[in-house]
Each structure stands twice: as C-alpha cells, then as structure tokens.
C-alpha cells in the first residue's frame, strides 16, 4: 500500500506532542489548538484507515522500508482498525469536553499536560497498530509512563496511588518482556506473524507455555484483571477528572485487545485451548473478577470509586468472553471492548462534569443533582442503563452475545455471574438515581434554595457528553452491522470447530 495512513496515524500526534511541549515555552495560547489538531488528525486518519481496511482488507506497512521479520511492520486488520477508531475518537472527544476543566486545574502546565495527553494517545494507538512484540512493549511503556504522570496530577492521595500503579505496572511490563524473551530464545523472532508460524512445532515445550503465562500475567496486571486489580481503584479515583475520563475507558480496553491479539494471532487458538486447556480456569477466574468487582462496587461511597470497581467487573466480562472459546463469546468480548469504552467514558465524563460544578463526588453529596444538572444526570443514567444492559442501549447486545457464548460452552457459572453483576448494577445505579432525585433519605429531602437552582455545566462540556450518550443507542442499533462486517471476519476459524466442553 503506497498510502502512508498507518504511519501518519502515529507520527502526526507524535509531532504535535513535541510542538505542543515546545510551544508551552513560546506562546501558551497555541497549546490547546495544536493538541486538538493533533488528536483530531489522529482520529481522522484512523477512521480513514478503518474505512480502507473494510474495503480492501488487511493493511501491512513496513517502517523504514524493511520487510517484516527484520524491520518493524504494522499489521492492521479489522480488529485493530476498530480499536484504533475507538481510541483516537474517544480521546479526541474527551479532549474537547474537558478543555475548561484542564484550563482551570493546570493553568501553568497546560502545555506539558497536553504533550503527555497526546503521547498517551500515541502509545495506545501504537499498541493497537503494531505487529511486533517488542515494539508493543516500548509503546506500552510510553502509554504507562504518561499515565503515571497524568494520574499523579490529581490532589490528595494521587501521587501515592500513582506510585503504586507504577510499581504494579512495571512488574506487569517486565513480566511481558520476560515472556517475549522466552519466546525469542525459542523462536528467534519478534514479529507476531513470524512467531505464530514458528510456534506450532514447539507447542510441547515448557518454555512456550511459561512465555504464554508470563505474557498473560503481564497484560493482566495492566488491564487490572481481578486479583491484580489493586492499583486501579485508587489510581483512577484520585486522578484529575479530565485524566480519569481519558485513561479509564481506554487503557484497560486496549490491554484486553492485546490479550485477544496474543491469543488469536501469536499463540493461536489451538495452543490456548487445546494444548494448554486453560479455558475453564480462565473463565472461573473471570467469574471471580465479575462477582468481586460487583460486590466491591456495592461497598463504595464515592461515585468515581464505584465506577472503578464496575470497570474491574467489566474486565471480567471481556476476559471471560474471550476464554469461552466459541465464536459467540469472542464476538461478545470484542463487541464489549467497543461498548464498554463508550459506556465508561460516558460515566467518567459525567462524573467529571459533576465534579467541575460541585467539587465532590461522594454519593451523599449528590442530593438534588437531577434538579441542578438534569442533562448531565440524564447522560449518567443512560450510561448506567447501558452498563446494566437495558435493550436499546449497546450494553445489552454485548451481554447478549456473552450469555449466548456461555450457554453454548456450558459455562453456567459465567452466565450466573453476568446476571448477578447486572443485578448489582441495577442496585448501584438506582441508588444513584434515588439520591440524585429524592435526596438521601437518611437526611430527609433537602429544601435549600442553593441546592434547588439549576447549575448545569457549560455547553462545551455537555455537547460531547450528549453525543456520547446518543452513541450508546446508535451503537446498539448498529450492533448487527458491526458484528457481521467487522467482528465475524476476524474470528479465527479454529474457534468454530473447537469441540467445547463435550
């Protein structure tokens, strides 16, 4: 392909990040327009690339003009294309929506903030596009390092939770690197497709399954899979709201994508399910993740913290779906990457908007919020309904696929866990609605003129939020199209003929 879209996708935000950070010292006013420009161009090119992939099939791009096993190649198929679009578009919308909050919070360091923001996007986009195992590690570190810096900008406990995230994240990164090292010593290659073609004769080797385990544990730490999730709630709760609505929806989802990519195009489905037979164990772990995430979410008194535990439980959905080992489960998992990113950004943006107005996100401070910020709360409820899985919204459809997959695989425990967490989500969101609408019933209904006045957030924040909430329903309507034209072609053929749990 003579078109340079895959490269431009990465280097334009990168160049703009450097420009922004330099501009911070020359003309501060230009930082935001430049950053928005870089992010917008990234979104534009990712959509263009996705359209190209839909039309012409997989795109290969060799960087530096060296073909794949020697140089680094980009390999963009429909799955990557989808993730690329999700990452770049959501990051762009978030940048527009949180402009005021950022300007108010970091007046002096806006340039550095936006440079880190763009570099974070670059990291995630690169992870999604790359076809090289080591390049993935480097980009993972770019994304992680920027997120450590961004998260620590929050007040209070933010630096401490960011440092904990740094320790956990580095362990995860190192485990992934070790896994890649074990693969490299056995195969001698770092290119994903090349490794995949060299692996089958080595399936019996213990080094390969140890490599697989370490890669999975490393990715699991970064995506906050249940026993390894301890860094997530604190880090995302104490981060500044503009940052948590950027990182929370994207980082974990991209890591789920990495897991699926490793499963289907590096180690191949045969290895993961037949040779290792890990399916059952992983599904049980994800059941644990779902149940514990939901249960811990119930115990939280802070809105953002509650959302964080919902993320932990949603990660369980995706991991479990991917490891069910049948097309329906995998479809559900991939669809849920898309839907969950959308739902989570909606939740965190709404939380950020509330934070912008009342500077507090404790649940008991939300009394009368429906009267004060009706539009924001409506969006929050819409996202909540989607998380619960109410039909017209997209959350329903991915849950439907996951439950179908669970039934086909005979994993009734996973189905029960899904239903349990939906039930818990109902309780969680109706509690929010109850407090927001009727006031906290322990203290009686509040009748204060200050609390009754409408203090809706500025339109610049509301419009993106409304667009995203509308997106929830639109995604739901177009689920069928997405599944048939995007997800079905990428499902590995091996999944279909897998005899599952006889």
């Amino acid at each position: 392909m003579n078109d340079h879209t895959p490269a431009l996708l990465i280097i334009l935000p990168l160049l703009f990040a450097f420009l922004v950070s330099g501009m911070a010292w020359i003309k501060k006013g230009l930082c935001y327009p430049l950053a928005a420009g870089g992010s917008g161009l990234c979104a534009f090119f990712s959509i263009r690339l996705f359209a190209h992939v839909l039309e012409h099939g997989t795109v290969q791009y060799s960087l530096g003009g060296w073909e794949a096993p020697w140089g680094i190649g980009y390999h963009v198929d429909l799955l990557n294309g989808l993730v690329l679009v999700v990452v770049s578009v959501l990051a762009f919308i978030n940048m527009i929506a949180t402009r005021r909050a950022v300007a108010a919070q970091f007046p002096e360091k806006e340039g550095a903030f936006y440079a880190l923001y763009l570099l974070f996007i670059v990291g995630l986009v690169g992870i999604a596009a790359t076809g090289d195992l080591f390049n993935l590690y480097v980009l993972l570190e770019v994304a992680s390092l920027t997120s450590y810096g961004l998260i620590a900008l929050g007040g209070g406990r933010a630096p401490l939770s960011s440092l904990n995230y740094l320790y956990m994240g580095t362990i995860g990164g190192c485990f992934y690197l070790l896994g890649v090292g074990y693969l490299y010593i056995m195969t001698g290659s770092l290119n994903m497709a090349d490794v995949a073609s060299l692996l089958p004769p080595l399936y019996g080797s213990s080094a390969i399954w140890v490599a697989f385990t370490f890669c999975m544990v490393g990715v699991g730490v970064k995506m906050a899979f249940f026993p390894l999730h301890v860094w997530l709630p604190n880090a995302y709760t104490y981060a500044p709201s503009a940052v948590s609505s950027l990182i929370a929806p994207l980082m974990t989802k991209v890591m789920v994508y990495v897991m699926i990519r490793l499963m289907i195009s590096v180690f191949c489905v045969d290895f993961a399910f037949s040779v290792l037979d890990l399916g059952n164990a992983m599904v049980w772990l994800s059941i644990l993740a779902i149940v514990m995430g939901a249960a811990l979410a119930l115990a939280q008194k802070n809105l953002k913290r509650m959302f964080c535990y919902i993320i932990v439980s949603e990660i369980g959905y995706m991991v479990g779906g991917a490891w069910l080992g049948n097309p329906a489960g995998m479809t559900g998992a991939i669809l849920h990457i898309l839907n969950d990113a959308l739902m989570t950004i909606c939740l965190f943006l709404a939380a950020g908007t509330i934070h912008y107005r009342i500077n507090n996100l404790d649940l008991d401070q939300l009394q009368g919020m429906f009267r004060r910020m009706p539009v924001t709360m409506a969006c929050l409820v819409a996202a909540g309904l989607s998380i619960i899985g109410v039909p017209p919204t997209c959350g329903f459809f991915s849950k439907w696929y996951l439950i179908t997959g669970a039934l086909q695989a005979g994993q009734y425990g996973f189905m029960a866990a899904l239903l349990f967490s939906s039930l818990v989500n109902v309780i969680l969101f109706f509690r929010v609605i109850e407090i927001g609408y009727y006031g906290d019933f322990h203290h009686g209904r509040v009748h204060g003129s200050a609390l009754e006045t409408r203090t809706e957030a500025p339109a610049a924040m509301l419009v993106p939020l409304l667009i995203l909430s509308a997106g929830l329903v639109v995604m739901g309507v177009f689920t069928g199209t997405i599944v048939t034209s995007v997800i079905d072609p990428v499902l590995p053929a091996a999944l279909g003929r897998q005899p599952l749990c006889p």
């Binding site: 490269a7 990168l14 450097f18 010292w25 096993p69 570099l119 570190e141 810096g149 213990s206 140890v210």
Partner: protein
C-alpha cells in the same frame, strides 16, 4: 506483605527455572535466536547501510521505529518529572549570602539582595566552605567530557556508542557542573526554557527525518530517499540518516537528563541543588 512476596517469588521463580530445561545451551551458536533473524543483520548491514557497528545499524535503521519510541519514552520522563515537580509560584524563602571580602554569611529572611552584586555572593542553605580543587578540576574537566560525548555521538557508526550514550555523557557534564558549583551556575549556562525546547527539538529532529522521508515519497524512516537531498547514493543516505537521528537522540537525552536532575535535586524549585 512479606509472605505474599515470598509466595509470588517462589511461584514465578519455579516457573522460570522449570522452563529453562527446554532452552538451548548457553551461548550455543546454533540456537534459534542466533540463526533465524539476526544473521541477516550481520551479513548485510555493512553493504546496506555502510555502518560497521551492527548494533547502531539495527538500532537506528532496521528497528529505527523502536528507537524513536525509546526517545519518546525519555521525553515522556522529562515532561513527567517537570509536570510533577516543578513549582512556579513560590513564597519568598530565606536566602543566604556571603560577603566575598570578609566571608561573612548573611541570612536574609523573605527578601533578597540584588543578584548581580560584586560584593555579595548567593550561597545555598546547606553551603559548606567549598573546596577550590574540586571546583577547578570539574570546571576544567567539563569541556573534555563534552568533547568526548560529541565523539561518542559522531563515532557511533564505527565503535560502541551513539546518541544515547553521548547524550547521557553530555547531560552528565552539565550535572557535574551543577554538583561541583551550584545549580544556578548550571542554569545560567543552559536556561530551563532552552533545556525544555531542546528536549522537544531532539525528538522532533528524529520524527522529522522520518516525516521528510514520507514527503520524499518513500515509507516512514526509509532513509534511502534522503539521497535526493543529500546528493549521495542510497547506501550513504542510510548512513547519513542514521547519523541525523543519532544527533536528535543525543540532544533529547542530554536535555532530559539535565531537566530530570534539576527538578529532582531542587524538588522543583530549580534554585538550590545538591
């Protein structure tokens, strides 16, 4: 926490040790790692890039994309330290001055004596009577260290070294100045603004060279097309392209090392250092 640590370490260690049984013996020339991808680099790097140091050739050309992100990681660290630690608005603090003629130390609370004064010299709060030998030797050494650093960057094609090592050494020379004199002396030589701009300029050079290759009609970082503007053949164009990106890497690494040190050692005030 200790028990958890021991359990995790034991589990991970056992797994890793268990897997070594299938490894090729240590240093075996016929292991897959030595026979699959790497022989091509050794055999053809010289004819394809005219760079005898294969590590440099692979680093900046075959896997140049990795290296670009490696430089980006460094840049992220610099920006990260800056955004985390740097404080701009600060209360006027106590300052210490020394009368040069009489060596009397003044402790000024809140205010300040004009910085440019021939009679008074500003000193750090933890100032100790300095050693003339250390100051002089370091000041004499700095230019030689910098010269060596430039050599390391420029000679990376033929000997160990390159942008990273040279950049770190360049940065270390300025850090040495800051340690042996004081931080303000080093900042006078290279201001914070210049340092931060250099940080961005270095990576910009790297990415820019890649982007120029796109503008000239080839793939990203495909240095061959630089032959059109450099008036050399394709192979030498690769060699010069590698040199260009090494310079970019060197600039960024130097600036970031200085910036991180200044922010860490002064806790973001960029005033009094180690």
């Amino acid at each position: 926490m200790k028990t958890v640590g021991i359990i995790i370490v034991f589990l991970a260690g056992t797994l890793l040790l268990y897997a070594t049984q299938d490894f090729p013996p240590w240093g075996a020339p016929d292991s897959p790692a030595s026979t699959h991808v790497s022989p091509r680099y050794l055999q053809r790097a010289m004819e394809e890039t005219a760079v005898p140091n294969v590590v440099t050739a692979v680093l900046a050309d075959y896997r140049g994309f990795d290296t670009m992100f490696e430089t980006t990681v460094i840049f992220c660290a610099g920006i990260g330290c800056f955004i985390l630690l740097r404080v701009f608005r600060q209360r006027p603090e106590d300052r210490y001055y020394r009368h040069i003629a009489t060596e009397i130390t003044l402790h000024v609370k809140g205010g300040r004596i004009p910085n440019k004064s021939s009679e008074f010299e500003r000193i750090d709060a933890l100032w100790t009577p300095y050693d003339l030998i250390i100051k002089t030797v370091c000041r004499i050494l700095v230019p030689f260290i910098q010269l060596f650093a430039l050599y390391v960057i420029a000679h990376g094609h033929h000997s160990p070294g390159g942008g990273f090592q040279g950049g770190v050494i360049l940065g270390a020379s300025v850090i040495l100045l800051a340690i042996s004199h004081n931080m303000r002396t080093a900042i006078d030589r290279l201001s914070e603004k210049a340092d931060n701009l250099l940080m961005a300029i270095g990576v910009f050079i790297y990415t820019g060279i890649g982007a120029v290759c796109i503008l000239l009609g080839a793939g990203f970082l495909d240095y061959r097309t630089l032959s059109a503007v450099l008036f050399v053949d394709d192979i030498m164009a690769r060699s010069h392209g590698i040199f260009g990106v090494e310079i970019g890497v060197g600039i960024t690494v130097m600036a970031v090392m200085i910036s991180i040190y200044n922010n860490l050692a002064s806790a973001g005030k960029q005033d009094e250092g180690l």
